[in-house]
Symmetry: C2
Subunit: 173 residues, 2 copies
DNA sequence: CGCTTCTGTCAACGACCGTAGAATGAGCAG
DNA sequence: CTGCTCATTCTACGGTCGTTGACAGAAGCG
């Protein structure tokens, strides 16, 4: 229910009723709505193998593919709630931190941290639109199709390569 | 307040008190909390010029740069609320639709719609992390720095080019 | 059997919510 | 002055929320 409705709109009474029990019983076992959320909502800390930037980018893609195939409901609960619940936001930051530093370590540029943050933003943007907003194109596409399209992005972001030169665009400053 | 707290946690009473007036007065002028939100929250429908895929990608980057410089609070209200409020979600979809179809039209591949959706997901992922979650690296970076890093991504997604060949990664299945 | 512990229900409290409507008062036309 | 309109406040209703604590039965144990 946290994944479906977010923190505020999920009520203890509704949780209890969905479980066929009394609201008091939920309180008895979890003590607090925050604690209930805390136990229901977990973001997986996917470990990235250390290696070259290309390898880490590919690993991130693989991790994304798995999540695009079936993101755990507990993660969706955090994602759904992170914009309106401080605890969920902290959880999101905390779960992203290790992956972020692993990414940063693998990227060989001075702006590695920013590049890593962008990669993380892309991953979560895609997941949010697929699962939470259910934008049709992203919700229907196969994980493989998505990560194949994202692969060049991830490569260039992780390795600091520039894509093949195209016709020069003249843009004013 | 909608941008800061989201729909549910923003109360009419708090809005009124912040304005130094009575809650009844807010009701008198807006009728309903939904109507108040409806009038406060607008997503700008940035028009993209029609043109080649490269040009449209560059225009999307320019639009992103402007939003990274100062995203209007009314947009943040929608973004903050879209995961927990159906109206905000609709608003998000509606505002994205024209840009999405403009992007789709400019991309010369059969999977144009998916590519356009990914571009949109990236844009919103970055904005969310910068403004709503305030991830430090993304919040501190200059818009130019961010769009310079994203440019190759946008190019390859919009033009279907593959980035320069790198050492072959052996990945199974 | 009695006693404790666990599982579970029930009713209620206090807080806060969106909302409604009556009351107040100022400004202005005649 | 009277009367009307509008801005604004006040009070309150009905509802929902998280949470509490009293209570009832079932289960295990001496």
């Amino acid at each position: 229910m946290f994944a479906e409705l977010g923190y505020e709109r999920t009520t203890i009474r509704a949780v209890a009723s969905a479980a066929g029990i009394d609201a008091g019983l939920v309180m008895h076992y979890f003590g607090t709505k925050d604690e209930l959320f805390s136990r229901a909502a977990k973001l997986p800390a996917d470990e990235l193998p250390s290696g070259t930037a290309e390898q880490v980018a590919e690993a991130l893609l693989t991790s994304l593919a798995r999540r695009l195939d079936s993101e755990p409901v507990a993660s969706l609960a955090v994602l759904r709630s992170m914009l309106t619940n401080a605890d969920a936001a902290d959880r999101y930051r905390a779960a992203g931190a290790p992956q972020l530093s692993q990414l940063t370590a693998a990227i060989p540029t001075h702006d590695a941290e920013l590049r890593a943050s962008l990669l993380s933003a892309i991953v979560h943007g895609v997941i949010i639109e697929r699962y939470l907003l259910r934008l049709s194109r992203l919700a229907d596409a196969s994980p493989d199709q998505i990560i194949d399209l994202l692969r060049p992005c991830f490569r260039t972001l992780a390795t600091a390569q520039t894509p093949p030169s195209t016709d020069q665009l003249s843009t004013d400053g």
